[in-house]
């Protein structure tokens, strides 16, 4: 079927198999590879993107289900002049990553989290990111990064 998705503000329209997963559409059809495939079973959150502004796991959605909707990937957070999004900046400042594989998903899930709850406590950040796994950091610095991006004092 013909699928047309507004990806990071630009319409990507392609004929794809009905069974095409959104994450494959983003990586292979749109050519945007920031979105990672981790577990492929809705558990790890590495493939998290925004659908109409809300976080979703793109391994558990068909591209067809996003037809006519707007998707934002990690690439879409960075401004055209290269200026980083506050969450991207905070993850760097707080060293919220080690290997980086989970980072795009963590950051996209955090965008949605801060949209629902602009001034979260550390515990609320942990609860809000329960759908994203990180095997390196122990989460501590990730929580700090989200707190910093929310404009609050980081109490480590």
């Amino acid at each position: 079927m013909k699928v047309a998705i507004e990806v990071n503000g630009q319409t990507v329209a392609e004929e794809v198999e009905d069974r095409t997963l959104l994450v494959h559409y983003l990586r292979e059809t749109a050519g945007l590879t920031a979105t990672n495939i981790g577990c492929d079973t809705t558990s790890c959150g590495a493939c998290t993107v925004l659908l109409d502004g809300e976080s979703v796991k793109s391994c558990t959605m068909l591209a067809a289900q996003a037809d006519g909707h707007a998707i934002t990937t990690m690439e879409g957070l960075t401004a055209d002049d290269g200026e980083l999004h506050p969450l991207q900046r905070a993850f760097r400042e707080q060293h919220g990553l080690q290997c980086g594989f989970c980072t795009p998903g963590m950051i996209m899930a955090s965008v949605s989290l801060l949209d629902h709850n602009p001034k979260p406590t550390r515990q609320e950040v942990r609860d809000g990111l329960e759908g994203n796994l990180c095997r390196c950091t122990g989460y501590h610095n990730i929580v700090s990064a989200v707190v910093e991006a929310s404009g609050q004092e980081v109490d480590r």
Binding site: M1, E17, D18, R19, L21, H24, D40, T41, T42, S43, G45, T48, L51, E54, S55, V56, K57, T60, M61, L62, A64, Q65, D67, A109, S112, L113, H116, D127, G128, L129, E130, G131, N132
Partner: protein, 272 residues
């Protein structure tokens, strides 16, 4: 992992969905949030020939209070239900439980109708709806019928729905002012419950204590006969048939059911 080939159809009204079902019968499956069905299809445990996407049916996305109680459109997402002020006032147990399913991303996609018809004995909302004396409204070619939740869960992943029927609404008797409690024991944050308990007033629903969600009838009767919460909760595992898994054998689950029932009922004893 990629699902087997299928043909994708999109319905924007209930009538459209029903006509696709009438055309394809058993070969068609309804796709709502897709968070149960798509993983099964990726594992090739399900391979429908036709997938009918009903998530776009806006007429099934609502929460309304009326004289009988609360009516919830089947395509309401967990996220919508968790934040809904009408639901929080008149059926706060369901609003809370909807906010504890899966994780943030799952709650942005998953629907109450999808959870109900999937009938996973480990799912949270079916037991909460059972404890709430909910009634499911289904539409098919012959019109509309109402099935009490108590008659809806026949076995694991098994309901009395016909292949050409669609659940459109969940009706919950008004719970305004009733206390409620929800306890869910998991190994990791986003896991399904090893055991869960949803209590509202003196009704108790058990998660993952048999092939279907169950009411803890012995506990409820003891409470009605004047037993204390501690005494009644001791009976929570009566007439259950919990699954056996290496990390959670049946005896362990029975123990959990008693402990969690006591906690949930203690919370439910406080009027909302």
């Amino acid at each position: 992992m990629i699902p087997a080939q299928f043909s994708y159809r999109r319905a924007s009204t209930v009538d459209e969905a029903l006509s696709v079902l009438a055309e394809h019968g058993d070969d068609a499956k309804l796709l709502a949030g897709g968070h149960s069905l798509l993983p099964l299809m990726k594992l090739r445990l399900a391979a429908p020939e036709v997938l009918v996407d009903i998530a776009p049916i806006d007429e099934l996305r609502y929460v309304r209070a009326d004289d009988d109680g609360v009516a919830i459109g089947a395509m309401s997402r967990y996220h919508d239900l968790h934040r809904d002020t009408v639901l929080r006032e008149h059926a706060p147990l369901l609003a809370h439980v909807a906010g504890s399913v899966g994780d943030q991303q799952v709650r942005h996609r998953g629907t109450v109708g999808g959870s109900i018809v999937h009938a996973d004995p480990a799912a949270d909302l079916p037991a909460a709806i059972l404890a709430s004396d909910g009634v499911l409204v289904a539409r098919g070619p012959g019109g509309e019928r109402r099935v009490p939740a108590a008659e809806f869960f026949l076995g694991p992943f098994t309901t009395p729905l016909e292949p050409d029927e669609l659940v459109t609404e969940i009706r919950i008797p008004r719970q305004t002012g009733l206390g409620w409690g929800f306890e869910k024991f998991t190994r990791r944050a986003i896991d399904w419950a090893i055991v869960g308990v949803a209590a509202v007033g003196r009704s108790v629903g058990l998660i993952n204590m048999a092939g279907t969600p169950l009411r803890a009838r012995a506990t409820e009767e003891a409470l009605a006969n004047g037993a204390s919460v501690a005494e009644a909760a001791e009976l929570a595992a009566e007439d259950t048939n919990p699954p056996d898994e290496s990390h959670a054998p049946p005896d362990y689950r029975r123990h959990l059911a008693r402990v969690l029932t006591a906690r949930a009922l203690d919370k439910a004893a406080v009027p909302a």
